[in-house]
Each structure stands twice: as C-alpha cells, then as structure tokens.
C-alpha cells in the first residue's frame, strides 16, 4: 500500500437533512477531508443500489449514504427503506468481493454539520485503511492492465 493513497468517495445526500448539514458545515467553516464528492438526492429513499455499484465500478473507493434520522424523514419514513436497501446491498457486496465497510450509512440532520464532518473524516480514514478498491484484471492475454473502464453497458 502506498502512503500517498487518497481515497475517492462518492457521497449521496438527502436534500433536506444531510445536504443542508454539509451547507451548515460550510457556513461554520468546519474543516474536513476533501475526499468525498457529494451528489444531492431528494431523499435517501431515492438511493438506488445501482448508484452505489455504478460509483464503485466507476472508480470510487467507497460510498457514503446519508439521510435524515429515523423518524425525521422529510417524506415521513422513506429513510427506513434506504436502511433496508443498504443492509441488503451490503450483504450482496460482500458476496461480490467488495468489503462491506466500503459503504456506510449515516444519519445526519440539517443541524448536524459537525456530525457529518466527523463521519466523513472517520470514513475517509476507514477507506484509507482498506486501500484502493481492486478490480479483476481484464486483459484476456494475461496482461495486467491498470484499472479498466468498467462501464461497458450492454443494452
């Protein structure tokens, strides 16, 4: 493992809580690791497991999923659905050879900028410890190609 490994993490945020928590963290000038790139969804319930797979397949080393605290969902209780999907996805990823620790679900309300930044910092370190996500070598001639474009999508 090289010392200079900087994990790349895609984060999915809920428009109503965690995205605003990120705004709040910014407004309060809280400093945190720059490794997470956020995507705004309307709700953690929108999180299709495909997004996570797509992110991992496209080069992310980890995926952070954030939503409102249980019981606080802007859409009543959709975050519970996110929770269920997350749990089943994590099991499946393990079977697929991706360490389940590479995905993390965090509840952060709009008021919890500090919590969000702490979670981000912790997650970046966890992923750093895991190292880069390794992919199967694809070249049929046995050449060890570097990370392949994984986006060969059949119709």
């Amino acid at each position: 493992m090289t010392d200079s490994f900087e994990p790349v993490i895609v984060g999915f945020t809920c428009n109503w809580c965690s995205y605003r928590a990120a705004d709040a963290a910014g407004t309060a000038r809280m400093k945190y690791a720059p490794n997470v790139r956020l995507i705004r969804l309307m709700c953690s319930g929108r999180l299709d497991p495909t997004f996570v797979m797509k992110a991992l397949a496209s080069g992310a080393d980890g995926v952070l999923i954030t939503g409102c605290h249980p019981g606080d969902c802007h859409y009543i209780d959709q975050n519970y659905k996110a929770l269920r999907r997350f749990l089943l996805l994590r099991r499946t990823l393990k079977g697929l050879g991706v360490e389940p620790e590479r995905i993390k679900l965090v509840w952060a309300s709009a008021a919890e900028g500090l919590k969000l930044t702490n979670e981000i910092n912790a997650f970046v370190e966890e992923i750093r410890a895991l190292g880069p996500l390794h992919w199967p070598k694809w070249d049929s001639n046995g050449h060890t190609a570097e990370k392949q474009p994984i986006l060969e999508v059949t119709a």
């Binding site: 705004d23 000038r29 969804l41 929108r46 802007h74 959709q78 659905k81 999907r85 986006l151």
Partner: protein
C-alpha cells in the same frame, strides 16, 4: 453515448475571496473548457460575483448569443442561489430546469485547507454537473391553487399575533389552542421586562380581539390530530375536546365555578402553587369565557352524584352528555406557534426543588408575585405567611449545561433581574443573583441591569453547586445554604438564605417531535423546530406551507415572539395573495408499458400517490399527491418508474462525471 451533446456553458464564481481564496477559479474555468469540451462545454467563464446582476447578465448573454442549451454555475449552495440562476436562464429563454448549481463554496472552499486539492475537487464537482446537466429535461413547475384559509396552532402571544395579522388582512384563520384559554405563558406572568408593564394589561386586549374577530374561528380545548395534503391544500382534523359546557348557551357568568364544591391543585396556570375548581376558567381574563369541566376530577363523573354546576346554571348550559368532536378544515398554510415547556427543575437534584420547600421555580414566583395569583401578590415562603429576609436567585437552571440543555435560554438573565427587582420592591429582602455570565443584549435590557445593581442586589459570579439544608454549624440552622464558588474571589462561599428562586430555562414542548412529524417538519438535536434558514428565513420550514413562530423554534422573549408571529403572517399573506403556488416539478411517473403490476412499489408511498389499477394490472402515480422523494423510482424492479429532476440517467452521468479521471 453517441447522441449529440447539448451546448453547455460553465460559470465559475469567485464569490469575492470566499471561493477564490481557496480554489484556483481560473484553473477550474480553463479545465472545464479544455477537458469537458468533448462533453459539450462550449464556453467557460469566471466572474467575481456570479450572483450579481452583471454576473447573471453574462450568462443570459451567452444563452442568447451562443445558443447555450445547458448552464452549469459553480458557486454556492443551491439552497441559496439555485433560484437566482434558474431565473436568469429563464429570462434568456432557457427552461430554468436546464441550469444546475454546483456548490464549490460550502462544499469546497469553506471546508478545505489545501488549495490544490480544493481546486481538483471543484473540477470533479463541475464535471459531475456538466455530465448530469446534459440529461436534464425541460420541466414546467406545477401550479396549485392556494386555499386562503390558515391554521394557527398555539394561542400564545406569537400565535395570537399571527392570527390577528392575517384576520385583519381579511382572510380566515382557525386558531387552535390545547388549553381552555388562549394567552399562553404570557398570561401567567406578572410584569414584563424591562419595562415592567403589567403582562395581563397588555395581553388581554389582544386576546379579546382574537376571541371576537369575525375572521377568526377560535378553537380552544382542541388539538390537531392529523394533517394531510400539501402547501395550498392541507386537510386538517381537529379534535375539539368535550367541555361539558354548551358554548351557545353559556354566558360566562361564573356561577357554576362558584358553586362547584370540588377543588384541585392547578398544575397548569398556577404552576402547582394554587387551586382551581373542577369546572373552571383558568383565569379571570380567559378567552373564551366559557368554563371547562375537568372530567377525571368531577364528582359526578366519579360517583354519579353532585351536578351542582348544572343545578345552578341559569342558562342550562351544562351538558354532561357532550362528547369530543372532530372537525375537518381545509387550509392553505399552517403556522405552528406551539411555544415551549419549562425545564423541570426537579432534574437538578442538587438544587433541591421538590425536596426543599422553599426552593421555587421562576414560574411559581411569577404566580406568587401576580396580584391575581395564589398569594395575592405577596411574596412568602412555602408556608404562605413568612416573608423572606434573604433570597437567592439562580441563573441558568437546566440551560448551558451538557447534563441538561446545551443552549442558553436567553430570557433567564432578564427574568432573574426582574425577580430581584420585584423581591426588593415587595419585601425589602437582601437579594443575591448567581450567574455564569450576564446576557442583556436587547434594547433597554442592560439599562435594567444597571437599575437592579443600583437597587443593591448582590451579584455573585459562579454557577451554584448546590442548595442544601445540610448545615455546617449553628449559624446555618433553619436556612437554605447556597454553596457556590465566588469565582471573582476564587473562594467557595456558603450563603444562607430563606428562599431560592430557580430561573429555569425553556425546553421544546414534550411532544414537539410527534407534532413535528405530523406536520412534516423536523427538530434540531436540541428538539426545537428547524427553520428554513436561521438568519434569512426564520419563520418558514423545509416543508412548504408549514411556518413556525415564537418559541417553537427556540427560546425567545415576548418582543421576538410577537415579531415572529407577524413575520409568519406576512409570509402566509404573500402566499394567499399569489393565489397559486408553484411546486417543484420533481415527480415520479410510471411507464405503463413496462409496468408488470408486481406491486412492489405499492406500499412505499406515505402520501398515497401510488395506486394500483386492478382492471389493467398496472400501477399509477398521482402527480398532485407525489412529493418527489423518488423512493418508488429506486424500488421498481422493472425500471418502469422514472423521476423527473433526478432521473437515473442524470445520476449515472453525474457519477461518471464526478469520477472522471479517477
């Protein structure tokens, strides 16, 4: 992706030095032009303040002259300026939903410390948005009519103010109050700081006005039990608890109260310090004037005998058969002015409240000093006779303390100063104030502090460690001992007093969370309702059509609560006068040719927007009910549901863009 790329313009904002101080804005601009050219970027510019009118004109000009089909602005959070830039695009003839805002301020420049890394992250975020925006589609906002009626929940001073403002503008208000009378906490106070106005004298006229206003339907002794619908079109069910008094017939003469033989401790209005009858109006100036019968304590309901109230009622208004009523009302906007609970001082066991008789709470003291209160305004010990010679007032009880509430309750310093003044004025006692910091920042507040200093109140800087009856010697016998470090002296002191007043803080209502969930708004970690923006939008919430005023969003004094009530009313009136409201066109739709009728999605929608059509065996989504969360979109195993604004294609493209070059 072989289809022709739409022409995209990228605009990177310096935000003065807010962004440019930590992000190499020019580098991002150049990179977008060079690296994202193949993805459709035809122009990339930077500007000092993109949100200024000159910045906006830059974008408008490019749309018109270069024929831009998509716009990406890298600046601040979309929650601040998305509307600004979308409106600018619209002025130039581009559908507003074809413009995306990337947050490189809140998410980059303000939170990172390495300029190079921050610049790289900005590029990635811009790339994500560029890839995404190519898949944005033209959308039209959904317009729905606004019902001009308004529901105000909570009849304290904030709710009364809000209701009156709206009613005076000519629109109808349902004012719902859980207690038998409106007035809230303010009705319990004796004097108000810093002016020492008589609280009742200034409040009563407002209460009467609210009670008699033709545009206000006053529903006291009532609670909202369910809410459905959305901005402009809420459907609310209100439970009107049985009063056992026919409001049509009652004249409020008070004979029933007089004749009722049963007395109970009044835990609400008198804060447990006084008594009331079982059939009662909480206080003389109560609005409405009709009494309420307290069923669990009523002798008739318990033993089947008594009915004294009925016998003596001159208008036959007592009705023991009355039942709870359920009203359905339709309103366009809702203002929650649900107020606060007092911190329960018994939790600070080292202050002895509940164990040591002569430890009082601030509300008990308010009642005691009120001429209409249980002692007729006499300040006495718990025995009801003895005047205290020495009184200690303790600040920050339950506030600014990680064991209880972290926040400052903001009113306690002033309230304590008011108490010191009243004690001095009424008893001439020696008064100590124990404080951590004196906080007197509003108009004429510090002047009041000066006045109380002048009156000879003894200020001790130190958070009181304990109030005890355990003596260290005969000189302390029979006294309450306040043990405290006088931090300005650097020594521990034990100060014997006769009476202790705990200036207890404010807490969110015990049921704030459940009430919030019913109305679809959330609470901060402290439990107060979260405003849309703490500075710029303090009376609206994340949920369109639900507003908050007064202490529901945090501790406030009377002037601030009144201002918020009026502000919330102004926001509601603005909505009503627009007659319609535009909703974000983020909605889910089902491609019925792909839907197999598996019914996986059928239990997912809390807004009942999803229905199954038995005859054709497919699921359909009602766009008026859909709130756009996207949970069903994510769930559909057949990929038959798609969501506007956040489509799979948009998200996939954004992921690819974010990770470009990784």
């Amino acid at each position: 992706m072989s289809e022709k790329k739409p022409k995209i313009g990228v605009y990177v904002c310096h935000c003065g030095s807010n962004i440019a101080g930590m992000v190499d804005v020019e580098a991002v601009r150049d990179w977008a032009q060079a690296a994202l050219g193949q993805d459709g970027v035809v122009v990339s510019r930077d500007y000092k303040f993109m949100c200024s009118s000159l910045g906006q004109e830059l974008i408008e000009k490019d749309i018109q002259e270069l024929g831009l089909e998509r716009v990406v602005v890298a600046a601040c959070s979309p929650h601040l300026h998305e509307k600004t830039f979308r409106t600018a695009s619209e002025r130039a003839g581009l559908n507003p939903y074809l413009t995306e805002l990337v947050s490189i301020r809140e998410q980059v420049s303000w939170v990172h410390t390495d300029k190079q890394v921050a610049t790289e992250k900005s590029k990635a975020l811009v790339s994500g948005a560029v890839h995404r925006v190519a898949y944005n589609t033209e959308l039209q906002p959904l317009k729905v009519p606004i019902n001009p009626n308004t529901l105000v929940v909570g009849g304290g001073i904030a709710g009364i103010q809000a209701a009156l403002e709206i009613a005076n503008a000519g629109f109808h208000v349902y004012l719902v109050e859980r207690e038998p009378s409106i007035g809230g906490h303010m009705a319990q106070f004796d004097k108000t700081f810093p002016t020492l106005d008589c609280s009742a004298c200034i409040l009563t006229p407002r209460m009467v006005e609210a009670g008699t206003h033709p545009n206000i339907t006053l529903l006291t002794w009532s609670e909202v039990i369910s809410v459905s619908g959305y901005v402009g079109n809420f459907n609310v069910t209100i439970k009107k608890k049985a009063r056992y008094v026919n409001e049509e017939l009652c004249t409020g003469c008070g004979i029933c109260v007089e004749k009722c033989p049963q007395k109970v401790i009044d835990d609400v209005y008198e804060a447990g310090l006084g008594y009331r009858k079982v059939i009662y109006t909480p206080f003389a100036q109560a609005v409405p004037k009709y009494p309420v019968l307290d069923r669990p304590n009523c002798t008739f309901f318990k033993n089947g005998k008594c009915k004294a109230c009925e016998k003596f009622c001159p208008t036959n208004a007592i009705d023991f058969t009355q039942e709870d009523q359920y009203l359905n009302v339709e309103v366009g906007n809702i203002i929650l002015a649900t107020g606060y609970d007092l911190f329960d001082a018994r939790r600070v066991t080292n202050y002895g409240y509940g164990r040591l008789p002569n430890v009082f709470t601030s509300l008990e003291f308010e009642r005691m000093s009120n001429a209409a209160g249980p002692t007729g305004g006499e300040i006495t010990l718990r025995d009801g006779k003895t005047k205290p010679e020495t009184v200690g007032i303790i600040h920050c009880v339950g506030s600014r303390d990680k064991n209880f509430n972290n926040y400052c309750s903001s009113i306690c310093c002033m309230q304590s100063l008011k108490f010191a003044h009243l004690v001095k004025e009424r008893t001439g006692a020696t008064v100590y104030e124990f404080y951590i910091d004196m906080r007197t920042p509003m108009k004429a507040y510090d002047e009041f502090y000066q006045r109380v200093l002048e009156e000879g109140t003894l200020f001790v800087r130190g958070k009181v460690a304990e109030v005890t009856n355990a003596t260290h010697g005969p000189h302390e016998k029979g006294k309450l001992i306040i043990q405290v470090e006088d931090t300005l002296v650097g020594k521990q002191r034990r100060i014997p007093v006769d009476m202790v007043i705990l200036s207890v803080g404010m807490e969110p209502r015990h049921d704030a969370k459940q009430v919030g969930q019913m109305f679809g708004i959330s609470c901060s970690s402290d439990g107060w309702y979260i405003e849309r923006h703490p500075k710029l939008d303090p009376v609206t919430t994340m949920t369109e059509g639900i507003l908050i005023a007064g202490c529901a969003s945090g501790p406030k004094d009377i002037p601030a609560s009144v201002a918020q009530g009026a502000a919330a009313a102004a926001r509601v009136l603005d909505k009503i006068l627009q007659k319609e409201v535009e909703l974000e066109p983020i909605r889910a739709t089902v491609d019925e040719s792909k839907c197999s009728g598996c019914r996986i999605c059928n239990n997912l929608c809390p807004f009942n927007a999803i229905s199954f059509l038995d005859d054709v065996g497919v699921t359909r989504i009602n766009p008026a009910l859909c709130q756009g969360c996207g949970t069903c979109v994510a769930a559909c195993p057949a990929g038959a549901i798609s969501g506007t604004g956040f489509s799979n294609e948009q998200i996939f493209a954004q992921i690819e863009g974010l990770l470009m070059g990784v």
